[in-house]
Symmetry: D3
Subunit: 313 residues, 6 copies
């Protein structure tokens, strides 16, 4: 089987892919056909089943893994997969990990680096609170390593939550060096915890969509509850410290209209807000421009409220 | 001792009052004097100590209960208390309850009415969650009955939290009758719980000021944690129901910029938001106009972004 | 004839319907066809005329009542009506009332209830002003009973204006009981009058669209003119009372950016604003969720700025 | 009697002035004194009565015309009037017109120029509607000529409403020449009518303050009612034209948040909005800078959201 | 060759046109076809090549001038050009000027009028700065005369920059007469210079799109640099005057959120802002309504945030 | 002479200080006195001259260096200097550098570090443009080293511009390591140049106030002009690179409403915006909290829109 980013005009394809989307349409003559969004870890391609009632096309649904037989054509400068046969694949015929966009970095190395920051923390309460999840909770660790940090936008791939969290932690490391006012232990702990609520806000891959709890509460409130869960297991955790830690998480979006019910009131909350925001925006810019080869303007981007382009040289 | 709202020009005063505020000032000739804000449950009056170093004036501080000897004068249409003697009163010389603004309604009757709503709830999980605090937790009940709902603005008096909560619950009762879409049990529970976080956001009277937790987390996040605390003690509490209940509390300010990290996504959350907002605004208007006898314009009010006045007969 | 909400896949249809919309389209082969929006009181269905030049298809236009012969098919989970024959129906062949979405409540009962509120008003000036329209003006009464309260959004059906007005009045009744500051007569009168400008802002069914006056002036300014018209016929109507009544109508949208040229400056104006806003939002939520059977998320709603869903249970 | 702008340090003053403001104050020694704002048409000066209980000081109140005996001193680069004697003047002892800030232009010439624009209008309905007030209604004319256009801000002097209206009309004359799309008759009529509601929104001089109707309805709604009053007297006034005329007045503030319940939807409404806004801002700038002799920065101005200064030669 | 605005249903066409846009599409049967936007100075028309691989259709691209053979048909009330033959035209076969939307006024007369304003300026420094471009720089003059003032919106045609600039200058002439506070020389100079940055912000016709410098810097910053370029060549140009002139250009959008880094701080900057804004909006309205024959509502316009229509009469 | 931060209650003072502010006031008895703001590099103290007409008090003015004889008293918990004698000091009697707030870091070391970043730049055009100012222009270097970065807010002290610029450059160094998308040379050059316009926007110490050019143009536009000045001296400077560099400076405030006429459109512009904003906010927080010893709430801060406090530990 070929990865999607290796397909070329004229290729004949036989392989198992994830059917990420399915939409029934109709030609103007009243003839129905299917539009599919075919995905593997390397990318996505549009698929068409022009004759859905043909014998070769079995029943299938969105989010099924399907074996496909078809041909790649080039249409209006985009590749498209005309599908002649399709059947739902059985478990064992495929490795789910092959079908999700995934961080390009080593998950294990990133996780080790994350742990090294926990080890630097001197405050035993904060260290225990972090260990409760990041060291002792195997299910959490497994989930955290494979989670995305978003449904779309930036870091929307398996390992994205880990990659973003590490990036924010390292950003905080820089700021701790630059601004003596910052309490290193508190800021590291807050940075490590800041997005753990996403574990429950977004479902795991290949679904990667908002959960009911995510819609109703959001990852900030969920994150505070998770921190609270950890703190309850630690005898003598100072109340003021607990509130300061939660505050940093509560305020990390920086503005009420971005979903933080409180504005940053501590230097560490402010620093975390900048680290999170900067990493999110720089990563978004990276994802938007990474496959570009020229420095042409790519069109108005709503997040940046500007047309954008790669820099020359 | 006379209550402050009974004082008249020329009265000689001897009695214990709360020194709500103290500010040292200086005449232009360099002579220091003290500005006091004197309070009891009936209201406040400005006090002046023109000779703070006189023998009759003992050491005292803000928030002390002080015995005062002085005279009421009328100055520029306002009464003012010129204080000749002052000493800090001892516990036992006064009843703290006499010095806080307090609801004009019966706290016990209001609380009984609140309980009657809990009794109407059929869903056993929600009923148990409410009983955890409102029926079984004596310290909570004591505190809830005497708390204010705000530092200033509306319901900023002892019993104000109870009065506001009951008013919102009854508002919801009306809406449950008017809009069949509403789930009565969920809405009653959410209304009863919506401001419990204020117990920890604001300190008790006579202080009635933001606590550290209140500044850092706010009553919405604190309230969710308190609900969570209760739910953890109830076996089998349905996850979806828990999230719906918390959502209503999370979203009850209605807008992100008012401190709700989520906008109302359920009909009950929407209804609670309207009940809370309407009661707050109607009570504020009531407090602003209640002592007015005429229908003259009282000046621009920043909350209402308008000049306001009483309505003619 | 079957109502549209009774049609099922495979049904053969012959009957008169309202052609609410007509749009000519073209297949990619250059063959023209017609897209219709077919409506009766029970709902709407898409219609297609694949061969508009066929002998069975007579000339017709948008907003015509047309007799249709065709067949219901199910396409991509939606029903669709393939039309083989069509002709414009003559007056007498149909009852226009069968083709408009209409309140599910009894118009006469609602109107009687509305009148009962007028009868409660003790202030003779306000009572006369209301009677001028609601009791004495038969044409107004006829129109008011059958008008919608909106082009789309909430209460966009015949009787909707009446239903919404009554709902707001009853909301005010609750508030009058809850907030003693409110002047009952003024608030009832303002509530009854608040949307009468919609009589002239929106044309009658089946058109139900903005009139020229509606576009140029809006229902608030029109409403003030209509109240003014009534007041001019009442000798000795107190000027202050007239201004207070008009103010409540002027300010009932609550914010300048929602089209009220003044913010509420009286308690009654504030109360009316809340009653109107709450009823509008609760009704919108009801209309969005009423045909849902599950509690799945229905997608982002722009009015509520949130994804929404039905509550569990 | 000397006009206020002629007073100099050391002058002895005896004359009748308007007491525009009165505020009782107290020295730090507890000695009361009075702060006055003394006004005549040429300007204002601060007054002090250091001994209000002296025999020479009779009872008086804000907005009284008072005969004053005192001395001008220079204090911190500002003149100040120390008042030794004061009594309320009787009618006949003064000419009210001498005590209001007044346009520097000829009221009669401006009014004649205004009438010349009415004479240019060819549409008989619009001409009649204007004549109803500007030609036939002597009381209106008298009032319009002497009214201000604002409580403070721009054109806040007698004749200011006339001066502003004429200026806007002439601005429209320019635009009619520049933009052929404009209907001259409609735009002239709308410009002449655009602020007539101010006649009832603001009380006459020397009070010049918001009336009850002004607070409750504002000059836009009042203006529409006044136009409506005129139109009712003109048989056959075309409905569409009436709505267009009212629309221009309704929309002349340009934005909902500036108090227009509708945004400009006609070219004439747009033009009127620009003419009004430009004249208001240019006049405000003129009033702010007119007495400046140098080009120094005069400090942050909230209306212009900028520090401002005169331009160099 | 016929101009596009003269084409009628059934016409056979042979002539050279500008291919303003080209988009490849596909019928539902998988058959590709081309959508073209055909333009000449009189307007645009949609073109279709149903058989792009036919022998008569040569290679071509967007922005080519192409000779077309085809037939006009009427489809859904719009004309459409079905193209049977197409080839790229050679230079010399067409006059580029025939293919751009162009001002309807005389460019030379407008330019002469512009120069007459420069001649009125008495301040020699300002006059020299203007002459540097408008009198002495032939390339600039050529470019300025043929440039548009916008990519779309108002004045988006050849000569549009000149037409808009002249219109703003004349608007300023009116204001100089009306508001004595204005320094005529400074305002004329600022008005003449205010949009010269558009010369480099937008590329010339037929491209008329944002340049790289336009995207990165915008016409305000570019305009300041161009003025600076001119001033450097004039010995003794007073620094204060230079800053005032640049300020007027910097602030001419009036609001930071419209791209002016400074709000108007001088009367002339304010006047220029109004003149520019008013002319832009009046011209936009003119362009929107100019081809309308009736007074029907044309639908919601995003710039005006309102539905708009022509005025009656 | 003692530095201001060493003064204690009861100290007798004789020494030269900067009179940063002077305001004439009046006791309620009509007796004038002077309020002074006395400054040296260590801080400020309020001064009072209770008898300005005494023989010991010579003429003086704001921004004079004055020799003072007086006594320190403690008043309402603040120190105050009662001045008995005052005369303007002559040049030579004081060292101006002793009277300005100054960076606590070594200016020369910071400048050397700044130069080391210039040396890292490989692009010869960017390196030359930077050298034009930072290496070759002695007057610029002198000025840059001693300038503040603000009138008030953050880095409002001599050396502040250098300290802030270096901090931003180092922040960019971190980001260049973290985000491979960034062009190091461009980002370093932009960071070094980003605030050079402040050299001309703010006057030098001890004045440190907005200049005329600063008010009219602002440091962004001035900065672009200064970069342009440098680039003009460098043959062959690539146009695209020049525009990219200027863009980064133009967009470094990040939002139009913060005074950037363009939003960041390049990754480097985005990074610079974050570095600048983060450093400004972290430094402001540092300055607000640096002298605090406890973790009490210090009150609502308008910049942060929140009450703030030091973190515990």
């Amino acid at each position: 089987m070929k990865y999607i980013n290796e397909l070329r005009d004229g290729d004949n394809v036989r392989g198992v892919y994830l059917c990420k989307g399915k939409r029934v349409a109709q030609t103007r003559n009243g003839k129905p056909y299917d539009n599919l969004l075919i995905q593997d870890k390397s990318g996505t391609i549009d698929g068409k089943i022009w004759d859905p009632n043909s014998g070769g096309i079995a029943d299938y649904d969105e989010k099924d893994f399907v074996e496909i037989v078809g041909e790649v054509i080039s249409y209006n400068n985009n590749l498209q997969l005309n599908i002649r046969q399709l059947r739902v694949a059985k478990e064992g015929e495929y490795n789910p990990g092959d079908y999700m966009p995934t961080t390009e970095k080593s998950v294990d190395e990133m996780y080790d680096e994350l742990l090294s920051f926990i080890n630097r923390i001197e405050n035993t309460y904060l260290k225990k609170a972090l260990s409760f999840y990041f060291v002792e909770d195997a299910a959490f660790i497994q989930c955290f390593k494979n989670h995305s940090a978003a449904k779309t936008v930036h870091h929307g791939f398996a390992g994205g939550l880990l990659e973003h969290t590490l990036s924010v932690v390292k950003f905080c490391e820089y700021m701790i060096g630059a601004y003596p006012i910052l309490n290193a232990d508190l800021l590291y702990a807050a940075a490590l915890f800041h997005d753990i609520g996403k574990i429950r806000e977004l479902s795991a891959f290949p679904d990667n969509d908002y959960t009911d709890a995510g819609q109703l509460l959001g990852h900030i409130v969920i994150g505070v509850e998770m921190i609270d869960e950890s703190i309850r297991h630690i005898e003598g955790f100072p109340v003021v410290l607990a509130n300061e830690l939660k505050h940093c998480v509560v305020a990390h979006h920086g503005e009420l209209e971005y979903g933080s019910p409180k504005k940053p009131a501590l230097a560490e909350a402010l620093a975390l807000n900048f680290a999170d925001c900067t990493d999110a925006k720089m990563q978004t810019m990276t994802e938007l421009l990474k496959d570009r080869e020229d420095t042409g303007w790519i069109g108005y981007n709503r997040l940046f409220e500007s047309n954008i382009r790669k820099t020359s040289e």
